[in-house]
Symmetry: C2
Subunit: 293 residues, 2 copies
């Protein structure tokens, strides 16, 4: 399957654009956003890297078809287009902020589900996909989670965390009078709880290893954050230290899973704020995070 700009269009401007610009793929991408269609078709995706058909190539020497390699179809765009896309993407992500103040306005569930689907495309150690996304919408469950988090967070601030950490966190949350109070966990229409599997359990009860679950779930969470931002939603990656097993129990998840991240998701409150940062504080400059060798 390959991207095409010759697909029929019910929206004339999109069609004009698609045929006018150089590069069918980019025209097709533009059409995605211009077109009022209800469903997104695969031929509207900017470029493809599908696995193609099951054509066993010379690099495959497995006797079992299921373990064979197949041709990798990869559609190239120009360096100039890649440059512009990459710059736009970086600028786009720069606009994201972690948010602690949410409106209780609802968000259609299917938008959340699309973001979960995007997160589920992450690579993982030995393709074990050791993640599970609990999307919590029920008010009573959000309240239970919030209570579990707040009880443990008070302990964290008073005993578990060292004084330096408490000081730093207070700065980050702008010296809120009670930093362990987490209204966002009930105000936001959703909490997404990212669960990490430490190992798998086969249907017959035997234990099966999972490789690099920490990295794998981190990457999937990165995809999720990007997908939510792309869907015009705000979130916060929080870590409910001490409350992990309580939350797992509230959600009825099995013992081989552990809470990895707790993410309120929704729209910002009308009076929502974010910590003020100078340009230097907002994010480290490239010279502090990157070197060419």
């Amino acid at each position: 399957m390959s991207s095409s700009s010759s697909s029929s269009s019910s929206f004339s401007i999109g069609a004009v654009v698609a045929s006018a610009v150089a590069g069918a793929s980019l025209g097709a991408l533009a059409s995605t956003y211009l077109r009022p269609a209800k469903t997104v078709r695969k031929d509207l995706i900017p470029f493809l890297s599908s696995q193609g058909k099951a054509v066993v190539t010379s690099k495959a020497n497995a006797s079992d078809h299921d373990h064979a390699h197949v041709d990798y179809h990869f559609e190239r765009i120009s360096h100039e287009d890649a440059r512009e896309r990459s710059k736009a993407f970086a600028e786009f992500l720069t606009m994201r902020r972690s948010l602690r103040f949410y409106s209780n306005e609802d968000v259609p569930l299917d938008i959340i589900e699309n973001c979960i689907e995007a997160a589920g495309t992450a690579p993982s150690g030995a393709h074990t996909q050791p993640w599970y996304f609990c999307v919590v919408k029920t008010a009573a469950l959000k309240e239970q989670i919030r209570q579990a988090v707040e009880i443990e967070e008070e302990v964290n601030y008073q005993r578990r965390m060292n004084k330096v950490w408490v000081g730093e966190c207070n700065i980050l949350v702008s010296a809120l009078p009670d930093a362990y109070i987490k209204p966002y966990l009930t105000e936001a229409p959703y909490i997404i709880v990212v669960m990490k599997r430490s190992h798998d359990i086969e249907p017959d009860g035997t234990r099966k290893e999972v490789y690099y679950p920490e990295q794998s779930c981190g990457i999937a969470s990165g995809l999720l954050i990007t997908a939510l931002h792309n869907a015009n939603l705000a979130t916060l990656t929080s870590t409910p230290m001490g409350a992990e097993s309580k939350i797992r129990t509230i959600l009825g998840r099995p013992a081989n899973e552990k809470v990895y991240l707790l993410m309120p998701v929704g729209y910002p409150a009308a009076d929502g704020t974010v910590p003020y940062r100078t340009d230097a504080e907002l994010r480290k400059p490239m010279k502090d995070i990157y070197q060419l060798y």
Copy 2:
């Protein structure tokens, strides 16, 4: 600052589209891809969530301006637009595959740098940003890294990894005759080594804590993978078990950093292949990774 479709355009079709579609933001996004401009302007970004000016709000009670909260400017798009964008993004990420076969064709460095910049926008524990991206282009260094990885990988396969794991990995790499040989580490024009800081060291030598570096680096790596895919580049998230400290030494990185991921980056080899997977094997279906509560 807000997005605008009234910005001057030297490209008439883009301007027509921007004024014709409902929603300036989406029109502006389309223009990003249609417009042949050399630089991406902020008014071409689909929507903004900038921190605004340093207006201290009622939620801020810090006496120090630098720790105050400021209004959060968030530009809303319609649910319908968010739905279409979220679906397109999921479809787009579905096209990504981890790749082991690279062309040695060069990639302009600034495209790689844009992707690193995108990765650096990740959230992190207490905003400590505990990541560092080593972009390795020098052939001799790539060769040294490859040697370090291959020596240790042979040990991994023979001693460190259990037999089950070796079997599973062999399936994944399609029973390559010598799974510990990693040609992609020298064939690809770049290796990006993601370093994770376990703690910081202040200019005066004192140790400073870093919080949740594992999750933070995972999320940043997720952003990086997405950015590379968006820039039409292939990669592979590999973990050089046993070779971490050698690689750190090769790159001259400090002892408080550890290799988190090793990512070859480039274009697929002309005869590049990926493991064949049925639809069910390619990625877990939503029912296996998600539940609504």
